[in-house]
Amino acid sequence: MIVPAPVLPTTRDENWKHAPLRGIERLRWAPPTALTQEARLAATALLGDDPPQGAISTRIVLVDGLHCPDARGTAPSTATGVGPGVAFHATDAPAQPGAATVSIDLAFAGLNRHHRQGELRIRVPDGETLELEVVCIALSCGHPALRIDLGARATLRLFERHIGATGSLANLALSVQLGHGARLEHARLLQPADGARHFETLEAVVGADAQHRMIQVTSGAAATRSTALVALEGAGADLGWHTAVLGAGTQTHDAYVRVTHDAPAVRTEQGFRGIAADRSRIAFNGHMRVTARAPGAHSAQTLRGLTAGAAAEIDLRPQLEIDIDDVRASHGATIGKLDADMLFYLLSRGLDPATADSLLKWAFIADVIARLSDPAWRSRFEDALAPLLPGAHAARSLT
């Protein structure tokens, strides 16, 4: 039976106005059926000698959505010490377009289910702690799928990276379920190669008194689109969502994040920093929804953009939708250019213009990276950004 692929959105759809959708209907979405030896070698080469991050000793590598245990990763099976809760489950047959595709915001998640060849499931039992690195490598086309399920008071420290080959296509689906009092520290580094396209859909449900800390930096690629739908469903659920995006050339980076506050005393702090250089375009649509079931909710949103190119564009859209009076909510969005006074100050101290420029851009996103509690993770982010902000990376070595 041939299963029809889900209908994809267009820029006429709400929440997709700035999405890089041009020509997506002509893209080849079908992934390779298996990993060739050539692909394994290419993946290993892309990883290089880069060791797992920080205290993490376990790395799982997915290549075009398929598990690749020999690409400097550790096989996610019971025999590897990762634990029985971490395993890659192959998919036998494509899923039928299901209820998820009813919402156009979940169209790419539906596409992922249609094409995915497996799913990496990470389950941390009640009260246990796990540290893990997941690297998704896109070589041609892949639909990686991750499912995270934390039991009561469980902790997961997850470092997630996305890299790939020039012109590759990735469509990630990530689902998160946090149990009572669970904690997810989630560092995401998205650096697809030049010319690559990266789509992703993140769905998270945060339970009572659970904490979800997400810190993400995106750069590279021709286009990225991130859709995140987070539901704070348990009383006292706490979300920290901080993202930085660096655009250059003709890149387009678009994100839509909807946080639904749906239980008493839930809390969200969201920050976004975008730097658009050259002719790049960056859009961030942060939708904070507080339902009548969330008395005492607290939502704080700060979105900031920096245009650093004559033809660069940034669109920031903070949205508040509140159905109840007993709520504290703040939101703000500012877009500007590099501060001329700051720039002159640095020049007057002898720094060359390129370094001064990079340093101020670095400073603009520094508070996002500073939220990483693990120095090794922070260092990895800084290393990844160093080539994009030449001269500025030295700043961190003295902090």
Binding site: D339, A340, D341, M342, F344, Y345, L346, L347, S348, R349, G350, L351, D352, P353, T355, A356, L359, L360, W362, A363, F364, A366, D367, A394, A395, L398, T399
Partner: protein, 250 residues
């Protein structure tokens, strides 16, 4: 050290400097005083190369080099330091990085290797002690959350680390209490040397009680109206500027 001839400059459509002539020899400290809006800060900015301050005539030689032909960072690398009246806050760029980057930029200009990390920290700690600054300031953003006095101390700290040939200090005394003024003055006096020069822009004699100038100049209406020894500052303190301006008008 510094030779300014018939310097004219404007900011936007407004003419601010109208034929400045000034010579500052090696080893000397000069004070520039004058009423509000006379062009003192403009002169400092023009010499440091601030964008938006357009030189419309005249010349400036700095250590025999055409200063106006240099970009702002080249002026700094060549040994010119501007102590800002209102130092800007730069969150996310920490003090110690800026100090090291600035020092290395100057060293590179002189053909020297980058400063050794240990030696650098030793150097900075010594200067901070002199300025009575807590080392915690090093890891903070540049001037971020600093009080007015702390910002001025930080400016002098930078100056002491960079050891410029020429320091232009624009109202370094403003916003300082008596104790802080003494500390800042001590820092400035530390820099006095036969191969350096210092230009102080100030409104008040009280700074000159602690940093004795070799020459005092009165800048008004975009020009140097009067030059003299330290006694001129005392006369200004006693009589104000009106008598000079009246003489100029007459």
């Amino acid at each position: 050290m510094l030779e300014i001839k018939d310097l004219h400059a404007r900011v936007g459509d407004r003419k601010v400097l109208d034929g400045i002539n000034l010579q500052v020899p090696n080893g000397e400290v000069h004070a520039i005083m004058g009423p509000n809006g006379s062009g003192k800060s403009t002169l400092a900015y023009v010499l440091a190369g601030r964008p938006g301050y357009e030189v419309t005539g005249g010349s400036v030689l700095f250590r025999g080099q055409d200063l106006l032909a240099l970009a702002p960072e080249e002026r700094a690398q060549a040994g010119l330091f501007l102590g800002f009246q209102y130092p800007v806050e730069i969150p996310g760029v920490n003090n110690v990085y800026l100090l090291k980057a600035a020092l290395n930029a100057a060293r590179k200009h002189r053909g020297l290797p980058e400063v050794d990390a240990f030696e650098f920290l030793q150097l900075v700690r010594g200067k901070m002690k002199l300025m009575q600054m807590d080392e915690a300031f090093l890891s903070r953003g540049v001037n971020e959350g600093f009080s007015g006095g702390e910002k001025k101390r930080n400016e002098i700290l930078q100056m002491l680390v960079l050891e410029p040939a020429l320091a232009l200090l624009d109202e370094t005394d403003s916003g300082l209490d008596i104790d802080a003024l003494k500390v800042v003055a001590q820092g400035v006096n530390t820099l006095r040397a036969p191969d350096r020069a210092i230009v102080l822009v100030t409104h008040y004699q009280r700074l000159l009680d602690h940093i004795r100038p070799d020459r005092v100049h009165v800048l008004a209406r975009g020009r140097i109206l009067r030059s003299g020894g330290p006694e001129l500052a005392l006369e200004l303190e006693a009589r104000g500027y009106d008598w000079l301006l009246a003489g100029e008008t007459a």
